[in-house]
């Protein structure tokens, strides 16, 4: 984030000019010059279950607001002024999502346990277990199990996509490392004809969509085939569908 005195002066002049002229080209330059700050702050909110890309966008909105409101005459450094604005924007983002995300701790804990319970039970009974069976095994009520299943939808969508321990690359998540033969992807043209947005999904999400909705495999079968838990399959499906819906509006 450090910049030279010259750069600092240059930016200060630009801020002064922008305060006068409100020239969009200057605004672009000022925003671009500080994108690093937005990204830096966005990263501090990563690992809370939101994709980093989304957070950077939210932070950038905060940055835009800060550029527009900054008054260079007051002698503050821009970064000092912008940080609380950007952080405020990020916090608001989480708060607005909070309605769906707020889940009682007991249900959160059950949600985390549920994956194992469902897979061991599925093996024991040789089919997808009923909710009553899951509740009994988990020592919870049926309502709690249902809440916990629902929690998987709102709560920590990103957990599967969270970068693996290996590094920063968002594509290096656990699920993306699952190998799968290309023949399974063969029907892609057919599916893409239904929605071009499918092609933009990560490959494993395309695969799961394909197996579930085109090949008619159940979630448990897909889980067995890919060697991931059924909860993960469920979350990825919900996530893909949400994405397909979300981007449908943009087209």
């Amino acid at each position: 984030m450090s910049m030279s005195e010259d750069e600092r002066d240059e930016l200060r002049r630009k801020f002064e000019a922008y305060a006068e002229s409100r020239d969009p080209a200057l605004r672009d330059q000022l925003v671009t010059a500080h994108l690093g700050l937005a990204e830096y702050l966005a990263r501090r909110f990563a690992n809370r279950g939101e994709p980093l890309d989304d957070l950077v966008q939210v932070a950038s909105v905060g940055l835009l607001k800060a550029v527009d409101r900054f008054d260079p005459d007051r002698g503050l450094e821009f970064s000092t002024y912008a940080t609380p604005t950007i952080v405020g924007e990020l916090k608001r983002h989480f708060r607005d999502k909070g309605w769906a995300v707020r889940v009682p701790r007991r249900v959160q804990e059950l949600h985390l346990r549920l994956g194992k319970v469902v897979s061991s039970l599925s093996q024991d009974v040789g089919r997808s277990p009923t909710i009553a069976e899951i509740a009994e095994r988990a020592g919870a009520s049926e309502e709690e199990v249902l809440e916990a299943m629902e929690a998987g939808r709102a709560y920590r969508f990103a957990s599967l996509d969270a970068p693996g321990s290996a590094g920063d690359d968002e594509n290096q998540s656990l699920a993306s490392q699952l190998g799968e033969d290309d023949p399974l992807m063969a029907g892609i043209e057919h599916r893409v004809a239904l929605s071009p947005l499918i092609a933009e999904l990560p490959r494993r999400e395309q695969l799961i969509l394909h197996l579930r909705f085109f090949e008619g495999l159940t979630q448990s079968e897909i889980a067995g085939r890919l060697g991931i838990s059924q909860m993960h399959v469920s979350r990825l499906l919900a996530r893909s569908l949400a994405k397909l819906r979300g981007s449908a509006d943009d087209t």
């Binding site: 277990p129 009923t130 569908l241």
Partner: protein
């Protein structure tokens, strides 16, 4: 619960907005659970409810309500939803080919039509466990 008829009906009215759809899913899941549906079947049902409800309200919701009716029947669960919107009928609802494909995979029957109060859907999820 012997006094609960075999064909019990439950109604739910929610604001036509995505954040309330979880209640629609939970109600369906709760009834399906009572009926002994499996985890897989409950998941399917929730996907179908989402797909159809979103087709009524769109991604950002509409002013108005969705009235959902759930029927527990001998062989499965029937869910109907009617959108009652303050901003008029809008464009007639349509399921994308992808939505059709998804619904075909997760429920036994589905339809989306225009009723007298607004767009409405109906789905049937049969009980295939065991």
């Amino acid at each position: 619960m012997e006094h609960v008829g075999k064909e019990a009906e439950v109604r739910l009215s929610i604001p036509a907005s995505p954040e309330f759809l979880r209640l629609a899913r939970l109600a369906a899941a709760g009834l399906a659970s009572r009926m002994g549906f499996t985890y897989d079947e409950v998941e399917d049902l929730r996907i179908a409810i989402d797909e159809l409800c979103f087709s009524l309200v769109g991604n950002s919701g509409r002013p108005g309500t969705i009235v959902l009716r759930y029927w527990m029947q001998d062989d499965g669960l029937v869910v109907e939803g009617v959108g009652q919107f303050d901003d008029g009928m809008g464009t007639s609802p349509a399921l994308s080919p992808l939505s059709q494909q998804i619904l075909k995979a997760v429920v036994d029957e589905h339809e989306l039509t225009i009723g007298k109060d607004g767009p409405e859907f109906r789905l049937v999820k049969r009980h295939n466990a065991g």
